[in-house]
Subunit: 251 residues, 2 copies
Amino acid sequence: MLKGILLNSENYQPGLSIDCVIFGFHDNQLKVLLIKTPYENKWSLPGGFVPLNQDIDTAAVTVLNERTGMQGIFLRQFATFGRVKRNDQHFGNAVLDYFKIPEEAGKWFTQRFVTIGYYALVDFLKAVPQKGNNQEIIEWIDHKEVPELILDHKEILDKALDTLRTELNLMPVGYNLLPEKFTIPELQKLYETILDKKLDRRNFLRKITNIGILNKLDEKKSNVAHKAPNLYTFDKEKYEEVLKNGLNQGW
Amino acid sequence: MLKGILLNSENYQPGLSIDCVIFGFHDNQLKVLLIKTPYENKWSLPGGFVPLNQDIDTAAVTVLNERTGMQGIFLRQFATFGRVKRNDQHFGNAVLDYFKIPEEAGKWFTQRFVTIGYYALVDFLKAVPQKGNNQEIIEWIDHKEVPELILDHKEILDKALDTLRTELNLMPVGYNLLPEKFTIPELQKLYETILDKKLDRRNFLRKITNIGILNKLDEKKSNVAHKAPNLYTFDKEKYEEVLKNGLNQGW
DNA sequence: GTACATTGCGTCAAAATAACACACATGATA
DNA sequence: TATCATGTGTGTTATTTTGACGCAATGTAC
């Protein structure tokens, strides 16, 4: 696929790429969808390029659909990275070598690149990680155990998480990361994981329910150790409303 | 200047530009620095291009320095705009016509452009708006009276203001927009203007002083109608600290 | 002086927050 | 079967923060 782009580079916006930080939540861990490329022995964020006839947001959605097989995902642009030295001659050449593309033909790829960062929140269980080609490995990796990444992808990932952490104070999070039915303790773990901070159980319940985006179901989680916790769903309508209007207005 | 770039386009990142929303505050109004170009009868945001050997942040700083004659300005990237149709063939051709550049040589300029938006906060009285060339008009315009802008610049401006409004809940603002000595009512007007909302005088004083970033001076504003208000400065050190750590943590 | 607008400081009730106590359910263990 | 450990649901309390005010002080205009 990348090879196809390289050979038809005139159809793509030059020097511009998209990188997606795709977050999922599972086993009380925040996971990131990463790709191990065959070109180099390092991991990378799933990314892509911008067709000349496509909006950048659409290009990001495309990357996401291709990689997770999912539609209607929560996706947000958070920053654009454009240090001169973020490009790494070594990486570019490794890719060209791999595809056996001569230097001249690969010039489009080894030019300076600026990349637009998007982060996505997806339901771990519904996403089906898709390889770009057979040599690739695509995997959910705990955000605390992310290995070395190519180029400045670690910086991009960190910035994404930082943004998410900030946005937690401005908007509700969870609808996109949790299964349809979930428990308050699960939601709390999600918050704790993102914030990297312990929260008081009882105060969390009060605050989260006061937002008014939760529906308490007449149903308890089954097959669990200890007392069975209640199940909840999000009230989609109110959730969207709070998403739009924001949480703590501050002033 | 633009002509120089057009004739040396191989030294610039293709299809990528920088646009700056430069905010100032004066007469209790939030002002935006706008440019009326000679190419078209419309206003635009001050912008520029990205030299191949310059970081995008540096390119943004350059635009700002050139336009305000100021150093060390508060500058923040807030979003990147890349709809396909944000480019407007009409505008590109108008510019080429103006410079009498033949279509072929101007191809670099009429290609699809993606633009990175930065917003800046500057001290209105210290900034000295600088023309790019003699045909240009550069002016501070009240944000409530912004005329029609080229391309999607209105959208960019709106997004910048929206971002600033949100960030008001996360960080202190004022150090960059007010003169060194200022009064609480002035600071309040700034907040009210940005938020487009009236605040209670007495509650504002309490909240703003509780943040701990203000130094009350033993000095009152002179030559004013009515009771002379006290003068304050920002405690730079604490201000920076709050800027870094954020305001209302929420969780 | 008086009228008027604006500033500085203070009050008070309501709401939000932080810290904590206790009872309940369930699987594991004795 | 009784007890324990662990995580859950609900409630209480003191403290802090917020929102909505009152009022005196200070300056200009007349």
